[in-house]
């Protein structure tokens, strides 16, 4: 039936309006709900009426989908409450009694464990539904470890399980209140607002929780109710109201001892809590403290959940090491910190840190000390203040070694014995502060010095203007001397700053420190704007330094404005014929080439070189200029010979300036080796590359990246020589060095990973190659503006990556990247050619393709599995049909039509191709089809029979321009050549090849699809008479 309607449609409907258009109109009318109109419509299109009527039920069902959207939106949204369980419902062995709590990690119910007749607290974990089995298993392991803990202050876990996809966690039911409730209550009594109120708390969920808490709290413990006497909360509040503050603090200490000892019990058994906070500490009617939710925090971490506004509360108790890095390996001292933060809040009734947003909170936890406890409340005993501060030390090594130690100190306080922890002296504090803020201190100093100096220079100028009298002249002289002195001082500070920034390896520093380093730069850059006018030579130097520092961090976007200003300032200060000006030009050009503004970079670098030459200046500055110029010439302009010549000149100069074993010599040699290799002189390239590597290893540069680059270079040269094993060794070492320098995500490593992947591929290590390739593409793209990769390579990588995204189902991400590729290509003919190489495989390319006249290879599909490769034997039109298997059943799934151009063409109606999953592609000589890409869509393992076998016959590699079209076809529907033909017609139109299209109209294949007689592995048959038939050739090579 389907076939019939389609063919009718393709022939063109007799009623004038195509069936498809009528069907759409039908849908519109059905949706309008006007039955009369519907009948009129159907009778108007009598000839198609039967077909349309057939579709009517389906159209009605589909039309329903839209109606609801307008009628009642509320019904569509998943009801959040629907996830809650009503009382009486059973879940496995548990019968829900009522809801008793609700929080980020799930809803807690009071339930009865039917088999044991006992009451339990049952936590339902909605998040578990989105965990993968591995995460879930890890979580279960953790819970099992917790279940083994037996301590009077740890809530026993009975079981963890799942029932009908609902994951739950059953524990002993404790009737009582959390310390968060207690604190809130005490705050209310003390007349302080609730802790949780934040400007960011806008979510309805948050207020819901608050409301629930309040409700719960009020119903359970009516304020001032005498029956609440036994409640610890009431006891504590009574202590306050009676003015017995010391008793209150002693109560707090007793509670914390229980908590600390319970934590210690868990810690000695290798279990961390990870989320100690008032909300997880519960006090029952007897005053016994219970720790809840051991290990549940891991679940959140595993899910990589983004903290939303209502999780800021939890952040508050997070340790500095957790705040600084997302995935730090935490140990038991993290729990000690959080217990300290809890203690802080219990004592002061204030959070240790308050912030309006997450970033701010993390920053404060990481870099600021909480307010002194006794400054908030002078009644707080000094011992407790010291204990709290000790527990909350920034550095884990400064905290209590064990939770037991903390408990012991608390007990000493209770027993009126001297505690072991010592309050830090002012000197300690200062040292600690400056240790954390070392860079900031330096920056502040520089800015201060600069401010003074600018002021002095300003005075000098002013005095000169007015300098008519001797006194004024004297004053001016004194000023001048002072300003010289200040300038010298400033310069020395700048020198220090320069050294500090220059020697710091931006990748080596820890993430937290890196944050400071960048913060320093940003702050410094901003400070400059405020402190200086725009007339200072010194400012130029500083901006140059800052710009270079940003460069070393690969933050080219930030470096650019700094360097641009430096260029302007130096032009003004020194004129256009000065090395200082040239130096700024080189730095600026170096950044521009990294932000793909290569044309501009080239102009500037030539200007700089001209200055150095005019002035006969043989300096490192000149060498750098040549290096940048060489890079631009070689990578961007593809002029390998010229690039080599430029590098050789740089080498000569560098050798005159430095001993052979100098960093610059090594770097230049490595570059020359690269270009030699590209030009085919592998032997000499290898010699130079080895030489370069040896020099760099001896020179011990501050940033080992240059050694890694040299290794990478050597590896690629060896690969070019065909020595895969040696290549692999070098590249692996390069990766190793990159890792040591910048960790697993060092963006500079991306390209090396790709090269290594190629080598591994060649050595048959497909699985590893695949992983590395993906990682490499990822890194390269993430460091889009950071890595010195030529734009061509970037486009190529982006194209490949885009395909991965697409085939992984990230269609929209793929689209975004596609847009980015087009943007990057920026319209230059050469680059567009490269883009088009990939555009053909873009999802939007279902209906579109582009001309690509150049040569190249279609390898955009990556090497995930061994691809099927055809070599096109001669010009002509081919239809290739592939058979494959899916779910064990043979499917004839792939139709590939290749046409040489010009080609015969038939007419097609004015429609675009209807290929499902259709892909146009263009290629020269080779068509590479990879089955893997289709499996994501077919959700099965397709195995494609490669057809034809790699032909052993002497295949002529003719230049071939073609367009192809891949189509998934259902089992029963044989490929329709007419459709392919029409698609191609459309393609020709789009290419503007209207003549060819006209010519081809006559050769449109018949619409009657030829039945395939059997599952032939592959049919490759030319559809034009003048080309060599594959089958003929086959018979020629095979008996």
């Amino acid at each position: 039936m389907i076939r019939d309607t389609q063919q009718t449609a393709a022939h063109g409907p007799p009623s004038g309006q195509p069936y498809e258009v009528l069907l759409d109109q039908l849908a519109e009318i059905v949706r309008g709900g006007d039955d009369e109109k519907l009948e009129t419509f159907l009778s108007t299109h009598r000839d198609q009426q039967q077909q349309l009527r057939q579709m009517l039920p389906t159209v009605r069902v589909m039309a329903q989908m839209g109606v609801v959207g307008e009628a009642d939106n509320a019904e569509v949204a998943p009801d959040h409450d629907a996830m809650r369980w009503a009382g009486g419902k059973t879940l496995g062995d548990f019968r829900i009694i009522r809801e008793i709590g609700y929080g980020g990690m799930g809803v807690v119910y009071l339930a009865e464990q039917v088999s044991l007749h006992r009451q339990v607290a049952l936590k339902i974990l909605p998040l578990a539904a989105v965990m993968d089995p591995r995460q879930l298993q890890r979580f279960k392991n953790e819970v099992q470890a917790v279940a083994l803990l037996q301590h009077a202050n740890i809530v026993p876990v009975y079981s963890v399980g799942s029932e009908r996809g609902v994951h739950y966690y059953a524990m002993q039911y404790i009737a009582g209140h959390t310390l968060a409730d207690v604190i809130a209550h005490l705050r209310r009594l003390a007349g302080i607002g609730p802790v949780e109120e934040h400007a960011t708390d806008r979510s309805s969920k948050r207020s819901e929780i608050n409301a629930a808490l309040t409700r719960d709290f009020q119903s359970a413990v009516p304020l001032g109710s005498p029956t609440a006497e036994t409640q610890p909360m009431a006891a504590l509040s009574t202590a306050i109201s009676e003015g017995s503050q010391s008793e209150r603090f002693r109560s707090v200490a007793r509670l914390m001892i229980q908590a600390a000892e319970a934590l210690d019990h868990a810690h000695t058994r290798g279990v961390l809590h990870r989320d100690v906070k008032p909300g997880n500490l519960m006090v029952d009617a007897t005053g016994n403290l219970w720790i809840l939710d051991f290990g549940l925090a891991r679940l959140e971490g595993d899910l990589g959940m983004t903290m939303t506004g209502d999780m800021v509360g939890t952040l508050r108790y997070m340790s500095p090491e957790q705040a600084l890095t997302k995935r730090v390996v935490v140990d038991h001292r993290t729990d000690i910190y959080s217990l300290g933060a809890t203690l802080y809040e219990l004592l002061t009734l204030r959070a240790a840190y308050e912030a309006s947003d997450r970033q701010e909170m993390l920053k404060r936890i990481a870099f600021e000390d909480p307010r002194g406890l006794r400054k908030i409340d002078a009644a707080i005993p000094a011992e407790l203040e010291t204990i709290t501060q000790k527990a909350m030390e920034k550095s884990p090594t400064d905290r209590y070694e064990t939770a037991q130690n903390m408990a012991d100190d608390l007990r000493r306080y209770l027993d009126n014995q001297p505690i072991l922890a010592k309050p830090p002296s002012l000197v300690d504090r200062t040292i600690k502060w400056s240790r954390r803020h070392r860079s900031l201190v330096a920056a502040a100093t520089v800015i201060m010095v600069l401010a003074v100096m600018t002021l002095s220079i300003g005075t000098v100028l002013f005095s000169r203007e007015q300098g008519k009298t001797l006194a004024a002249l004297k004053e001016a002289k004194a000023n001048a001397e002072r300003s010289r002195a200040e300038a010298a001082k400033a310069n020395s500070v700048i020198g220090l700053f320069d050294e500090m920034l220059g020697s710091a390896n931006p990748f080596k520093v820890a993430k937290g420190a890196d944050y400071t380093y960048r913060q320093l730069l940003d702050q410094f850059a901003t400070g400059l704007d405020q402190q200086l006018g725009d007339q200072s030579e010194v400012e130029a130097t500083i901006r140059l330094t800052i710009g270079k520092a940003y460069q070393s961090l690969d933050l080219y976007d930030r470096a650019e404005p700094q360097l641009k200003t430096a260029v302007d300032l130096r032009r003004r200060a020194f004129g256009e014929d000065h090395e200082k000006f040239a130096e700024s030009l080189v730095a600026y050009a170096d950044t521009l080439r990294n932000t793909v503004q290569v044309t501009k970079a080239e102009v500037l670098i030539q200007e700089a070189i001209a200055i150095y030459r005019r002035r006969g200046s043989e300096t490192d500055g000149f060498v750098h200029a040549l290096i940048v110029h060489g890079w631009i010439t070689g990578w961007r302009l593809d002029n390998l010979e010229k690039a080599e010549a430029i590098y050789r000149e740089a080498l000569q100069v560098a050798r005159r300036l430095h001993p052979e074993e100098h960093f610059l010599v090594g770097r230049i040699l490595s570059n020359i080796a690269y270009f030699l290799n590209k030009r085919g002189d592998h032997t000499e390239a290898e010699r130079l590359a080895k030489n370069a590597l040896a020099i760099l290893r001896k020179a011990k540069p501050a940033d080992n990246s240059s050694i890694a680059y040299a290794l990478d270079n050597l590896g690629q040269i060896r690969e070019a020589q065909g020595d895969h094993s040696e290549a692999e060794a070098s590249l692996r070492e390069a990766v190793e060095v990159f890792r040591k320098v910048g960790g697993d995500k060092n963006p500079r490593m991306g390209f090396t990973l790709l090269a290594l992947a190629d080598v591994l591929e060649a050595r048959g290590k497909h699985a590893e190659a695949d992983g590395l390739r993906r990682a490499g593409m990822m890194l390269t793209l993430e460091g889009w503006r950071k890595v010195n990769v030529s734009y061509k390579v970037r486009i190529q990588i982006a194209g490949e990556y885009q395909l991965y995204l697409r085939f992984d189902g990230h269609d929209s991400a793929s689209r975004t990247l596609y847009a980015r590729i087009m943007e990057l290509a920026n319209g230059t003919p050469e680059s567009v050619g490269h883009v088009f190489e990939y555009v053909g495989s873009h999802p939007d390319a279902n209906f579109r393709t582009y001309p690509w006249e150049g040569s190249g290879r279609l390898n955009g599909w990556g090497g995930r599995r061994s691809p099927a490769v055809w070599t096109i034997p001669s010009a002509g039109d081919y239809t290739i049909q592939l058979t494959g298997e899916r779910d064990g059943a043979a499917v004839d799934a792939l139709v590939l039509q290749l046409s040489s151009l010009p080609a015969p063409k038939a007419d097609g109606p004015d429609e675009s191709p209807t290929a499902e999953d259709g892909i146009f592609m263009e290629s020269e000589g080779r068509i590479v089809v990879e089955a893997e890409h289709f499996t994501n869509r077919s959700q099965g393992d397709a195995s494609w029979r490669k057809v034809p076998e790699e032909d052993s016959g002497d295949v002529k590699h003719l230049h071939f321009r073609g367009s192809g079209y891949i189509q998934f076809l259902p089992d029963q529907s044989p490929h329709n050549p007419a459709e392919v033909h029409d698609a191609r017609g459309q393609l020709l139109d789009e290419l503007g090849r209207h003549e060819e299209r006209q010519k081809s109209r006559s050769t449109r294949p018949s619409l009657t699809t030829p039945k395939r007689s059997s599952l032939i592995p592959t049919v490759l048959s030319p559809t034009t008479s003048d080309s060599t038939s594959i089958s003929e050739r086959k018979t020629g090579t095979k008996p």
């Binding site: 979510s203 990822m778 991400a813 499902e916 259902p970």
Partner: protein, 208 residues
């Protein structure tokens, strides 16, 4: 919606000439459709945390900002343009919430989210809401299941066309703009996809 194409064009023209009321009208007209789109495409897990209205608000704010630029050239019809901004918002939010730490290409399993994957799930809900008469309610569940199965088996593009046509209520012209193809192609694809759904509802559909 409820507005002829000519009237709509007139609104766009007035908006282009700087008529604030027209801009406001334009945004309002498409608001519900946008909301439907956002709800359809948003990962169910996100719905608990992010209110679709916020997405819409953000979309409209952004749209107002880039409206002058759009009106200058009008490369695509108005609604598809608006929808594209909403789409970008969605992608952004999904990334932010669900994909943040998971974007490692080495990962073997399916991506953490895929916008279109969830649409067929939600379709079931949407339909369940739609068949609200008592008689329909009985077979609601079964039809739901069938439609869902059918939609799941469709190719992505087919499914997209149906979703956009029926749930998002885009016109063929608009769908063509969104998918960057011709109206002819959409007509044809729509028909084919419907036929497949029909087969599935008749119980005769199987894995292609």
């Amino acid at each position: 919606m409820g507005l002829s194409e000519a009237d709509h064009d007139e609104l766009v023209r007035r908006a282009a000439s700087g008529d604030d009321a027209a801009i406001e009208d334009l945004m309002q007209i498409h608001r519900e459709r946008l909301k439907q789109m956002v709800r359809l495409r948003m990962d169910p897990r996100l719905l608990a945390r992010v209110d679709p209205s916020d997405v819409i608000q953000e979309t409209l704010t952004q749209a107002s900002q880039s409206l002058p630029q759009y009106l200058e050239s009008q490369p695509i019809p108005f609604y598809p343009w608006l929808r594209r901004i909403a789409w970008q918002q969605l992608v952004h939010i999904h990334r932010q919430h669900l994909d943040a730490e998971k974007r490692t290409v080495r990962r073997e399993q399916r991506p953490a989210w895929s916008v279109s994957d969830h649409s067929s799930m939600q379709i079931a809900q949407v339909i369940a809401g739609g068949l609200s008469t008592p008689s329909a309610a009985a077979s609601r569940k079964e039809i739901c299941q069938r439609v869902r199965t059918a939609l799941e088996q469709l190719s992505e593009t087919d499914r997209e066309v149906l979703l956009q046509r029926y749930v998002e209520q885009l016109s063929v012209k608009e769908i063509a703009a969104v998918l960057e193809t011709t109206e002819g192609a959409i007509y044809k694809r729509h028909a084919r996809a419907l036929e497949k759904v029909q087969l599935a509802l008749e119980g005769g559909f199987h894995d292609p």
